[in-house]
Structure formats: structure tokens, C-alpha cells
């Protein structure tokens, strides 16, 4: 049996194919077919002989929202509250910009319908549901050309009956219906409504896309990557598309976690630097999941891997602002025209141009051989920038190099800030963590960044550019359940257990239906807890001592706790994982330490301190397990380059990771 991970990116669609019988992993890339992404996916899968089980990272849901091309969706809500989506939280995004606007809601006011009914905060019916209103709405929806309906009534997480009745009535119309209590029985009406609206908006598209794939594929098992790092069945994805909405970067984090464990490391920070943005995520004995996610300013409270994204990458453009500071990003040259050195019309220097000028990228050995880099045009653009910034040649460095080094320092400052957000600001000391670097540009910055925040070790996996597709092969099947309870903290663990039990049963049954035997199912219960009166919860594993756990975690995150204060249990959570056997990658016998075979011509590089040095270069694919190399130097792979600053020592481990002590 073959297992295939497929990841659709902006430029390439990546495939990772694992042959269970042969225990062999192969990866390849095809150009993404933007107009119909299924085309590239089917073409790639067509190359694979035999029955396959596929995990697919799809951008259908993401793009539907970003491009506003989802299903024509209506909302049904409690009378008096039709504008909740438009009002949102009544705040503006930018404090100091008269011209900034809030994102338009996915469902325009004209398609928001009200039904007479009201439930109070304790789940008591105050006004019973008006069947008449339902009849009226059921007549209106088809006239409005509605394809999908989000139903979200006030306090439905306490009493779902009214929503269910609405659903029953409207499902008779034969259109897609998403009930808030089915997707997120959690309090806070705007966030729940927004989640439900997103789900109704993307699910029909997801369903159509997956059906087309399934038709094209014939009998095969098709699963879809979720934002929480697990996968779900194609059938469920067609109903709960919102769960896949930020699945793009999830594969990489899951893959990185797998490699980290394999390398014997439980604490790591992933660093995925691409062309226009950089994703970082903290792994602390596992993948960290948050339920405070948003896409294009629209929140959804579905468990999502805690990934912090910043708008800085290899394509970020550098410039001088009106006050004379050197700035990098957020504007990006993207892939088209791309950096100046691509020679496709880009005029403004980017981070990639800077790395080229510093000798850290080598012109004739870069970017999968697809693009020839032109160092001279990059230098001219950098010189212009240096003049604007009033830079002067500095010791060893000429003008272009001074500007280039500045760009790298500034973009590193951006990324340092991102690393701090996920670690220090959450009570984690970066010195305890390993930096796992992947993505096209990561290797050029990883070591310098690690040093700047006190990280002592960097790990670069052997297939850094297809890590996401590989990660999908390692992803468990995951189902998340939540229920708001708002119980006083004195509640006994036994009482909580009694409430959690039905959720466990539901979760277990759902995984059973997907063919998981009991011994391959792991159920984890957790609680969202806060001090009575706070508005933000911390999620802690459920157990007898949950109160103590909460105080401890609060102290870790925020530097103080109040063991005497009353706590409140806000939500119950159950996560069910159907365990997937990850690919058993062959380990390689350690060779001797001498990397002579991989040695390339020496090359001139500008060091972190701004000196021009002649350094060693090695060909990454030729390095063998056990080989040791030391900075300053460059390790060149077909799709990425690793810059080793002075005094860095690296070794290729038995899994062919490059492990760098910085």
C-alpha cells in the first residue's frame, strides 16, 4: 500500500510518497495549476502506481475566503441580532489610520434572517421558536439563490434544540446547512457566528472539490489536512470545511514535530521562511493548539496549530522611510517580478538580493536551478538603497554589501520578534529549544537568528522544501470536541468526568466509524479554565489536580498566579486521535567525519560581523551521515542554502538532518 501526502503551494504542488512494503520515501514537485488545483493533484497521483491512501493539504477553503469566492450564504439568527456579523466586536483594526476598514462580513446584511425565539444564559426558553418565521425564511432562501445557510442562535451552546429545529426545517430545501452547535457549541456569539458563517461559506466548495478528486481517483482513501495538525475524512471535510481553513502551514509543523521526536528532541521551534512570509510555531512535548485563530480578520474558534506568521520573507522589499530608517517589508516582490536578481523586472532590493550580494546565496547554484540569478543587478539596486540611507562603505564592505548586511539584520529583527512572541512571551526560554528550519529561505537566517535569541541548536531536515507533504503522512486522524459549561471551580473532578464522558463516547464512536480499532484511539480531555472574572482561558489537561495545573500554567504564562482566588471551568474539550503509523524512515550508518567528497570551491561570504571571508562550501546531497562541517561556510542543497556563521559546528545525523550547534 502507498501513502501519499499532497501539499498545494502557490508555486509548486508537492508530493511525498511512502511505500509501506519497501519502507521507501520519495518526493517530487509539479507546478501548481492555479485555475483548477485538482489538475496538478490528479496528474501527480497519476504517476503513482497502485492503490494509495492520500492525505491532502488543500487551499480550497483558504482561497475561498481570501478571494471571497465561497458559496452564496445566508444567516439565520435570533430576532434582534441580525447585525452581529457586521458589528463584529465594534473595534477597528488600525488605531491610527483614518482610512482603515474592517473586513466585510462574509454574509451581507440582506441575507441575514431573523427568527423569533430566545433562550437565556441558563438554557431556559424565554420565547419559543416561531414556526411561522421558519416558513417565511424557507420561502425566501431559494428566491435569494442561497447555496448554504449558517444557523447561529443566542445561547444555543446551552440549549441546541432551537437550532436543530431550524436545521430540520431548512434541510428540506436541499441546501447546505451549518448549525453553530454542531461546529462549535461554545459561548461568545460573534466568534461562534463567524465560525459558523465561515463553515457554511467554504464547505460546499470543499465538498465539490473533493468529490471531483474522488471521481478522478477511483477507489482510494482520501483524507484532508486540518488546521489542528490532524487529518479528517473527505466526507467530514465537505461538511466541516472550516476545520481545514488554515491547514496550509500545518503539514510543515507536523512533519517538523515528527523529525524532532525522531532526533530525540521534545522542545523545538519551527521556522518556515518562505518568499513573502515566515511562520513560526513552538513545540513543547507536542504541537501547541490554540482556538483563537482568524483568517483575513475573520475569527474562528476551531482548534488550530499555534502558528505566528509575519509578513517578512525572502521576497520582502527593503527601503528607506521618511525618517531615514532602513525598513524591510511588508511589501513583497513575490514570485513575480520577484527579487531584482531574478531579472524579471524587479527594481527594488529584497532580502534574497541581499543574501546574494553577501555571497550567502551563490548565483549558479540556487533555487532548484529554475532561475539564473544576476548578482550585478542586485548590487546596483543595493547601492541605490545604500545611497538613500546615507550608508558609507564600512571597513571591508562596499556600499552594496553594507546595505545588504543591513537588510539581513533588519529582517532578522522582525523574525526575532516572532520567535519571542511564541516563546518568551508565553513563558518559554528559547535556550531550551531547538530551531527547526525549513522553507526556501530559512537556512540563510536560522543560525544567526538562533544566536540572537539564545537558541543553541538548529536542525535542518533533509527534505526541507517538501516537509509539509511529508508531514501529512505522519498526521494522526484528529477529532476535536468542545462544550461550554461555565462551572464554578469547586466542581469535583468526578462531576466533570460525568460531563466529559458522553463527549468521549461520541469521539470514540466517530473514530470507530473511520476504521480505528480501540487500541489505536487516544482520547485526551482538557479544560479551559480562568480565574472567575477574567476573560481569557488557559487550556489544561483534565485530571484530579486540574486547579493546581491551572495556577502553575497561569504563573508560567503571565508570571503570577492567585492560588487563593476562585477559578471557573469555561469549556470542556475532548480530542480524539486515531493513531497513524508514521513512515519508518531508514536510518543511515554513520560514516566518518570527513566531508571531503562534498567539498566545493571556496567562496567569498560577508560574515555576521561584516567581514569578507573566504569560506568552505559543501554540496548538501553529497554530505553523508556522520560528516562534520564547521562555519564559516555554506551548505548548498538544490532547493535551499544553509549559511553557517563563524564557530558553528554541524554534523549530519543518522536521519540525514543537518544538526548545527551555534
Amino acid at each position: 500500500m502507498l501513502r501519499v501526502g499532497v501539499d498545494i503551494g502557490g508555486t509548486f504542488t508537492d508530493f511525498a510518497v511512502y511505500d509501506e512494503a519497501a519502507a521507501a520515501l520519495t518526493t517530487f514537485k509539479l507546478l501548481t495549476t492555479a485555475a483548477d488545483p485538482a489538475e496538478a493533484v490528479l496528474a501527480g497521483l497519476g504517476r503513482i502506481a497502485g492503490r494509495a491512501s492520500i492525505v491532502h493539504g488543500s487551499t480550497i477553503a483558504t482561497n475561498a475566503v481570501l478571494e471571497r469566492k465561497g458559496a452564496k450564504t445566508a444567516l439565520v439568527t435570533t430576532r434582534g441580532f441580525r447585525d452581529v456579523l457586521s458589528i463584529a466586536r465594534q473595534n477597528r483594526e488600525d488605531l491610527y489610520d483614518f482610512l482603515s476598514d474592517r473586513p466585510e462580513p462574509l454574509i451581507p446584511p440582506s441575507l441575514c434572517h431573523e427568527v423569533t425565539e430566545r433562550v437565556d444564559a441558563y438554557g431556559r426558553v424565554i420565547v419559543s421558536l416561531s414556526e411561522e418565521d421558519l416558513v417565511t425564511i424557507a420561502e425566501q432562501l431559494p428566491r435569494q439563490g442561497i447555496e448554504s445557510v449558517a444557523v447561529c442562535l443566542l445561547h444555543s451552546y446551552m440549549l441546541p434544540e432551537h437550532e436543530r429545529r431550524v436545521g430540520e426545517k431548512l434541510r428540506a430545501l436541499g441546501i447546505f446547512i451549518s448549525l453553530s452547535t454542531e461546529i462549535l457549541p461554545e459561548f461568545r456569539e460573534y466568534e461562534r457566528m463567524s465560525t459558523t458563517a465561515l463553515n457554511a461559506y467554504v464547505s460546499p466548495l470543499m465538498d465539490r472539490y473533493l468529490s471531483r478528486l474522488e471521481e478522478g481517483l477511483g477507489p482510494t482513501e482520501l483524507r484532508v489536512m486540518q488546521s489542528n495538525g490532524g487529518s479528517l475524512s473527505a466526507k467530514q471535510a465537505g461538511r466541516e470545511g472550516v476545520r481545514a481553513i488554515l491547514s496550509g502551514p500545518a503539514g510543515g509543523v507536523v512533519g517538523a514535530w515528527h523529525l524532532a521526536k525522531q532526533a530525540g528532541c521534545r522542545q523545538a521551534i519551527t521556522f518556515d521562511m518562505g518568499g513573502t512570509s515566515t511562520d513560526v510555531s513552538l513545540l513543547d512535548g507536542g504541537i501547541q493548539v490554540t482556538s483563537e485563530a482568524a483568517i483575513a480578520g475573520l475569527p474562528f474558534r476551531i482548534p488550530t496549530i499555534g502558528i505566528h506568521t509575519i509578513g517578512a520573507g525572502g521576497g520582502s522589499i527593503a527601503g528607506v522611510d521618511v525618517g531615514g530608517l532602513l525598513r524591510v517589508g511588508p511589501q513583497s516582490a513575490g514570485a513575480d517580478p520577484g527579487p531584482v536578481c531574478y531579472g524579471r523586472g524587479g527594481q527594488l532590493p529584497t532580502v534574497t538580493d541581499a543574501n546574494l550580494c553577501l555571497g550567502r546565496l551563490i548565483a549558479d547554484h540556487s533555487l532548484a536551478g529554475e532561475i539564473t540569478l544576476d548578482p550585478m543587478s542586485a548590487r546596483h539596486a543595493l547601492e541605490r538603497l545604500a545611497q538613500q540611507a546615507g550608508l558609507r562603505p564600512d571597513h571591508d564592505l562596499d556600499l552594496a554589501q553594507a546595505a545588504a548586511l543591513g537588510i539581513v539584520r533588519v529582517v532578522n529583527a522582525h523574525m526575532m520578534r516572532a520567535l519571542r512572541v511564541v516563546s518568551i512571551e508565553k513563558g518559554h526560554d528559547p535556550r531550551d529549544y531547538v530551531l527547526i528550519s525549513f522553507g526556501g529561505s530559512g537556512g540563510l537566517h536560522a543560525c544567526e537568528l538562533a544566536r540572537a535569541v539564545g537558541i543553541q541548536r538548529v536542525l535542518v531536515p533533509p527534505f526541507a522544501s517538501t516537509l509539509s507533504a511529508f508531514g501529512m503522512l505522519t498526521a494522526d486522524v484528529v477529532k476535536d470536541y468542545v462544550q461550554t459549561v461555565l462551572l464554578p471551580g469547586e466542581v469535583s473532578a468526578a462531576d466533570l468526568e460525568r460531563r466529559i464522558q458522553p463527549m468521549r463516547v461520541m469521539a470514540q464512536r466517530a473514530l470507530g466509524k473511520e476504521g480505528f480499532a480501540e487500541e489505536r484511539i487516544v482520547l485526551e480531555a482538557a479544560l479551559d479554565v480562568r480565574y472567575l472574572g477574567q476573560s481569557y482561558e488557559l487550556t489544561i489537561p483534565f485530571g484530579e489536580g486540574f486547579r493546581d495545573e491551572f495556577h502553575k500554567l497561569h504563573s508560567r504564562h503571565y508570571g503570577h498566579s492567585e492560588p487563593e482566588a476562585q477559578v471557573e471551568v469555561v469549556n470542556l474539550r475532548v480530542r480524539a486521535r486515531g493513531l497513524v503509523q508514521p513512515p519508518a524512515l531508514a536510518t543511515v550508518e554513520e560514516d566518518d567525519a570527513d566531508p571531503a567528497e562534498a567539498l566545493l570551491e571556496r567562496s567569498q561570504v560577508v560574515s555576521s560581523e561584516g567581514q569578507v571571508r573566504e569560506v568552505d562550501c559543501w554540496r548538501g546531497e553529497v554530505l553523508r551521515s556522520g560528516n562534520r562541517v564547521a562555519g564559516p561556510g555554506l551548505v548548498l542543497y538544490p532547493d535551499t542554502t544553509i549559511f553557517l556563521p563563524e564557530e558553528c559546528r554541524a554534523v549530519v545525523d543518522r536521519h540525514e538532518n543537518l544538526v548545527i550547534d551555534v
Binding site: 447585525d83 473595534n91 546615507g390 548586511l405 503570577h560
Partner: protein, 531 residues
């Protein structure tokens, strides 16, 4: 043209380092605070200062504290000469504060160098507490003296060389209605400063005192250059504008605000001569509030990523007559200066600047925060309750696009309390929460619409409303119509009783309060079909 900074790269790097300290302080405060004002409404600020007390970075949370914190640091340092381990506390509006609910903590940062400890900086945070005592719950009363508004805390040491001043702590908690919540908020504030002190210390340790100080200095110059550049693009000249606040809730109105702005060679001179004398009610805005509103306007014109530091505000010179609404003498009441007058100051300044650079200035936004407080005894939960909310309204039309609807503008940006959270916590039920249709002014581009919110009381309660633009209207620009004024209504049985803009009264179970917030003004003459 601008002067070149000595090191454009290092400064950019430091800009990130310093603002991430202020932001991290904010994360701690927000996540662990108890007052809805802090955790939901982000009514707080965190900032980092250099050794001379000049603000080096402020995290963007709420504009009404913009540039108002250096004064608190200055006063605390002047009076107390802070030592290592001290934490100063202040809320006195006449000594570095703004209004009483805003409590500010200031911590000095001492750095070890060659065996000695040197004062190298300060961190401070200011947070709006839900109650600081006084004559009514929520401490935003209709008062005539600051003494009635709550507990006044002059600059005092809350911590002395690392040890808490337990007596002071007890005095504060004995004077407020919800002491546990106050204690929780103060602990969150202490934790935020502690994080700030530690991070700033790390920064000095890593980059050295001299280099860090030089970078702070350089960033002040940088922000000043950006601000001078911004002002120089607005169009030199003298511009004057007046607008009114409806009344102060005590005496009949209106109350006039007048500003004359002179723009010249990259500097702005703002003179509030012509503004009404200080009033008996709480509309008086102490000077730091007036400065914050003024700084906000220019800061917004400078683009969103300039560091909000002292340099940024150096080219802006404010003259506010002592004894006037915008610079009162003690003991004038000041609670609403922060929330209402600050909005009108912005309206007046934007009105003046619309003559200088019409293409950059929006019409008037709702111009009020619609503060509503409901407090009383919650029999069902067996505890007192105090609910406080500010309600968004219409944004003024922009030159190139309509104003946003149902949104907080200018000096505030507070989130609403989720209805489900509010009904979980208080004996209140929301009956309607919707857009107030057709409340934005017509124009070539339209003003945004306000909000309509109806709250039913499930227990007897005292209602306080502090709102404005109930008779005056948010102005339109260049032929645009003004927005509709707001309305406050009490629905009792079949009766519909119009309430004043500023009011305190006792309500009964079953009463419904309806607030309709103002729409924004329109921009440009509307075409016929828009009218």
C-alpha cells in the same frame, strides 16, 4: 529634507526590540486583568522610557493614553526619587493622571554597571479600573468635584525596595466597591511592570548601556523627523474651528471648544483659546488628555508605524488656557474629560485641518463613547454587579469612501462585551443589538451608521449614562450632511421616556434602556438621489 540618522540599521533593530517590550507588558496585563475595561476593551497602555523619563516606546492599545504617560513618570520621579525595587502608583488627574479610574504604575529600571546600579530607564503601565470608589459604581459619576469621583492617589510608593506597602494596599482596597477585582488588576499591573523591568534590563545587558541609550536617543530623533515631515506636508497656514459639547450634565449647555492650528516649517502650534471655561460637571479634560487627543490627530496623519515616543510629539506645541475646559484647575470634576471631551477635541482639530488638507481628513465621527453603567444587587447570583460598556457608532465619511458603521473611532477602540458573556455575568438581557439604519449623514460619500442597543433589567439597578451628540450633530464636510444625533430612551411598559445625554437614575426590574448612537457626518455634496 530629513537629516540622516547615524545608524539607520541599528535604529530599526532597536525599534523592534523596544516595542516588543511594551507589547509583552500589554499581553500580561490584558490576559490576566479582571476589569472588562482592561481585558475586553484594552483600556490600558504600556510604555518604556529612557533614564531621563522620555518615552521610548508605547504599545498601541488605546489612543487616549497617547503621550499622556511621560507626565506620570516625570511627576513620580520628581516627587519620589525612585530607587531600585520601587513601584510608584498614581491616579491623581492633577499630578500626572488622567481621570481617577486610570491607575498608573511606574517602575524604575536600574542596571548594574561596574559594581554600581545606574538608573537607565523606566517602565510604566496605566489601566482603567472598573471602580475606584466615589459616589457611584463604576466611578464615572455626574459629579461636580474630583473628590466625588473616587479615591485620589497622589504619586506614592506601592513597593519600596521590593517590599509592598501593605498599608497603602489596604487603604486602596478599602475605598473601592469590588476589592478582589481591584487587587487582581493591580497584581496584573505589577506583573506587567515586572516583565518590562526584566526585559529592559536584558536589553541593557546585551547591548550595553551606552549603545542602548544612544539607540533610544536616535529613535526619538527619528520619530521627530517623521513627524516634522508629516506636518510639513499638510500645508502651512493658520486654521480655526469650533464645535460644541451638548452640556456637562449639571448646567445647561452647550460648551464650546475652539482650536487654532498654526502649521509652520514642520511644526504645529495648537491654541485652544476661545474654549469655554472649565465647567461644573465632569467634562473637564486635564492637560494630559488634551495633549493625547492632539497627539492622536497628528500621529494618525503620520502613518501607522511611527514609534509613539516623546520625539514624535516634540514638534507639536499645545497652548491650553488654565481654567478652561481643556486645562482645568483642581478640584474640577474630570471623569468625562477622558471619554467625551477628548473626542470633541479631535473633532475640532480635524475640522481645522480639513481646511489645510481636505483630501486627508474625514468628516466628524460619532464624537462620543456612549458610556453606560448599570449597577446594583444581583439576587440570583448573590453578589453586587457593575456593568460598564461603551458603544460604537458611525465613523465620519472619508474623502474617498464612506465611513464605517457601528465602530469605535478616534480616542477609543474598545471591544464590546459579548452578549452571551454579559448575560452570563449580570442580571441583564439584551433585546436588540443592531445597526441604526440611516443614521449616517448623506454626502458624496456617506457617514457610517450608529448602533441601536436595548438592554432589559432583570434586577433593580442604577443607570448612569455619559454620552454626547444628543443635540449637537457630527458635522459633515464640504457639503456633506451631519450624522443623526444619538438618543437615550427608557422603555417602561408602553411608555417611552427620552433621557438626557448625561443622566443617573434608579431603574426597576423590567425597564428597558435603549441607546441609539450617533451616525457619522457625510463628505461632499450628495447627489440628488442620495438625499
Amino acid at each position: 529634507m530629513y537629516r540622516q540618522p547615524r545608524d539607520p540599521i541599528r535604529l530599526e533593530v532597536f525599534k523592534h526590540l523596544l516595542s516588543s517590550i511594551a507589547e509583552e507588558m500589554g499581553v500580561v496585563l490584558r490576559r490576566t486583568g479582571y476589569s472588562p475595561n482592561i481585558k475586553e476593551r484594552l483600556d490600558f497602555s504600556c510604555a518604556v522610557f529612557d533614564g531621563k523619563g522620555r518615552m521610548a516606546a508605547q504599545a498601541a492599545h488605546i489612543p487616549v493614553h497617547l503621550g499622556a504617560m511621560p507626565r506620570a513618570v516625570e511627576v513620580c520621579q520628581e516627587r519620589l526619587r525612585l530607587e531600585e525595587g520601587d513601584v510608584a502608583m498614581v491616579n491623581d488627574p492633577y499630578h500626572g493622571g488622567t481621570h481617577l479610574p486610570d491607575i498608573t504604575l511606574v517602575s524604575p529600571v536600574f542596571v548594574k554597571s561596574e559594581g554600581a546600579s545606574r538608573l537607565c530607564g523606566f517602565v510604566a503601565n496605566r489601566a482603567h479600573h472598573a471602580d475606584v470608589g466615589g459616589i457611584s459604581p463604576g466611578s464615572m459619576p455626574l459629579a461636580t468635584e474630583v473628590y466625588q469621583e473616587g479615591l485620589i492617589i497622589p504619586p506614592v510608593r506601592l513597593f519600596e525596595r521590593g517590599t509592598i506597602n501593605a498599608g497603602l494596599w489596604d487603604v486602596v482596597l478599602a475605598n473601592v466597591r469590588t476589592p478582589e477585582e481591584r487587587a487582581g488588576d493591580l497584581r496584573a499591573q505589577i506583573a506587567a511592570n515586572r516583565v518590562g523591568v526584566a526585559r529592559l534590563n536584558e536589553l541593557f545587558a546585551r547591548y550595553g548601556i551606552a549603545d542602548t541609550q544612544a539607540a533610544m536617543e536616535g529613535l526619538l530623533d527619528y520619530a521627530e523627523r517623521v513627524m516634522r515631515h508629516t506636518i510639513s506636508t499638510l500645508g502651512d497656514g493658520v486654521y480655526r474651528f469650533s464645535d460644541v459639547l451638548d452640556d456637562d450634565g449639571i448646567d445647561p449647555g452647550p460648551v464650546t471648544l475652539t482650536a487654532t492650528i498654526t502649521l509652520r516649517d514642520g511644526e504645529a502650534f495648537v491654541d485652544f483659546a476661545g474654549t469655554s471655561p472649565q465647567c461644573r460637571g465632569g467634562l473637564n479634560a486635564v492637560l494630559p488628555v488634551t495633549l493625547a487627543a492632539t497627539y492622536y490627530v497628528f500621529r494618525a496623519l503620520a502613518g501607522s508605524d511611527v514609534p509613539s515616543n516623546s520625539g514624535c510629539f516634540a514638534p507639536i506645541h499645545v497652548t491650553a488656557p488654565l481654567g478652561s475646559l481643556v486645562n482645568p484647575r483642581p478640584p474640577a470634576a474630570v471623569a468625562a474629560g477622558n471619554v467625551e471631551t477628548s473626542q470633541r477635541i479631535v473633532d475640532v482639530l480635524l475640522g481645522a485641518l480639513s481646511q489645510a488638507c481636505p483630501e486627508k481628513i474625514p468628516a466628524a465621527s460619532q464624537g462620543t463613547m456612549n458610556n453606560i453603567t448599570l449597577g446594583g444587587w444581583d439576587a440570583q447570583r448573590g453578589r453586587p454587579f457593575a456593568y460598564y460598556e461603551t458603544i460604537g457608532g458611525g465613523m465620519g465619511a472619508r474623502p474617498d469612501r464612506p465611513g464605517a458603521s457601528a465602530i469605535h473611532t478616534h480616542m477609543t477602540n474598545t471591544l464590546n462585551t459579548p452578549i452571551e458573556a454579559m448575560e452570563q455575568a449580570y442580571p441583564l438581557r439584551v433585546r436588540r443589538y443592531e445597526m441604526r439604519g440611516d443614521s449616517g449623514g448623506a454626502g458624496r460619500t456617506r457617514g457610517g451608521d450608529g448602533i441601536l442597543r436595548e438592554i432589559e433589567l432583570l434586577a433593580d439597578a442604577r443607570l448612569s449614562i455619559l454620552s454626547d451628540r444628543r443635540s449637537s450633530r457630527p458635522y459633515g464636510l464640504f457639503g456633506g450632511e451631519p450624522g443623526k444625533p444619538g438618543r437615550n430612551l427608557l422603555l417602561r411598559g408602553s411608555e417611552q421616556i427620552e433621557l438626557p445625554g448625561k443622566v443617573s437614575l434608579d431603574l426597576r426590574v423590567g425597564d428597558v434602556v435603549r441607546i441609539e448612537t450617533p451616525g457619522g457626518g457625510g463628505y461632499g455634496r450628495p447627489s440628488d438621489e442620495d438625499l
